[in-house]
């Protein structure tokens, strides 16, 4: 498979075309905005957190196929998980996307999200894939400033 085919796999194209949990959430008790100032990608992540568990999660915004698919897959993956699991996943996804070799088993630890591992071959696109993750991180930590990839 070429690097390009690895980047734009069917699953990613499908999430881009029909993003999951792509809606505003009025009952959210956590919300954060994420912004990639370099390219203008913009995402808002909504979370309904109950006793440390992500009961519901959704997103809205505009961006490229990679950022949209990554956000969509993230919401599908995080729904029902507790904060500690979400944190660990954030770390591992970040490692996978940046090609951090410190943990050679990192790809196995991210489950379905490993479909995004092709991104690390495209340094200019790492920020696209990680934007939603930085944003949900900010939402869960209740940070007042919008998340940024910079």
């Amino acid at each position: 498979m070429s690097e390009l085919d690895e980047l734009y796999q069917e699953v990613i194209l499908d999430h881009n075309k029909s993003p999951r949990n792509f809606r505003e959430m009025t009952h959210a008790n956590r919300k954060a905005e994420g912004y990639n100032p370099l390219c203008g990608d913009h995402v808002t992540v909504f979370v309904q957190l109950e006793n440390g568990v992500i009961k519901d999660i959704s997103f809205q915004g505009s961006g490229c196929a990679i950022s949209k698919a990554s956000a969509s897959m993230m919401t599908a993956e995080l729904k029902g998980k507790n904060e500690a699991v979400a944190d660990a996943l954030f770390d591992n996804v970040h490692k996978m996307l940046t090609g951090d070799a410190s943990d050679e088993h990192v790809v196995e630890k991210v489950g379905k999200l490993q479909i995004l591992s092709g991104v690390c071959k495209f340094p200019a696109r790492v920020k696209c894939a990680s934007l939603a993750w930085h944003t949900v991180h900010a939402a869960l930590k209740g940070e007042a400033q919008p998340a940024s990839t910079e």
Binding site: S2, L4, L13, C39, A65
Partner: protein
Amino acid sequence: MRPSVFDVARIREDFPILKEKVHGKPLVYFDNGATSQKPQAVIDALNRYYSAENSNIHRGVHHLSEQATAAYEAARSKIRNFINARADKEIIFVRGTTEAINLVAQSYGRSFLKAGDEIIVSAMEHHSNIVPWQMLCEQVAAKLRVAPINHDGEIVMEEYRRLLNDKTKFVSITHVSNALGTIVPVKEIVALAHERGVPVLLDGAQAVPHLKVDVQEFDCDFYAFSGHKMFGPTGVGVLYGRAGLLEKMPPYQGGGDMISLVTFEKTHYNVLPYKFEAGTPHIAGGIGLGAAIDYLATLNWQDVAAHEHRLLSYATEAFGAIKGLRIIGTAKEKAGVLSFVFDHVHAHDVGTILDQEGVAVRAGHHCAMPVMQRFGVPATARASFAFYNTIDEIDVLVRGLARVLKVFG
């Protein structure tokens, strides 16, 4: 000897980087709006300066310093001639267009604008011709007014005319839009402002590589441009200013070279242009920019314009046949810039896929986020041409776009 017909194959020989490969494919460089490539003559000038002439200027009595000073000042004269300024002292070396605009905003603006005054820009400015004015507005409580553009990306002249009023104290407008390619009718813009005695700055960053610039013909008060977009080095640019205005303006930065006498009680500033050139400048850059102008002088400007026009027409027509593609910026008068979007594919994805074909385009908001908002798009992909580009390269781009559509269905 200059070829009588524009010989693009021969021109390409002058630019060593055009032989490079990207992802195993020949480089197709369509990101000239971001920065242009450099001819061997410019690279050689930088090399020669550092190998044989390097020295500080305006201060040494030794041979090298005299040589470096002469080369740097010769570059200033070349620039003066290139844009047809009246005198060398009207040519201020800066880091680039951004610094030139900041210089005028801070030096002229803070001295001559006050609370309630108005500054007019257009709706298609680069951030570098918006933010310095917003900063000034905060400092002196002036107001920024924006001349709107129509759906083709042309300034609505009646609206611009209406914005001009007794409170207008400055106009700063792009000559060629980096995001849309629009060539602005600058003579008319300037004339209307001058009817009210309002000075005008033209942002020429995207104009100098494509158009003949004549500051006397435009009658503008300031003209700003960058070396690196016109085949020269990065880190050097030019502010042209009308001598009468520059004389009235205080220095922008303090330091060496911009003074004539310093005591702890009082400092006397140097004469133009040195008053605005504090510290050791980018000497190699200035000399390199002079070499770029020498290189451009070997080309026939009309041949260059005709070739670029052909590239733009060919690409515009080819793009018209691509399903789901929309060109953003359809002004009647355009330089070689094609911004475009797809219905269902984001500009970044377009950029990544084209890169795999060796094609370099810009994808994003082009430092012109208000333009993106005006057209209701988050970003565009942009192919921007230079005279060394070819029709064959446009065919490669079009094939790359077919691949984009294949990936995204």
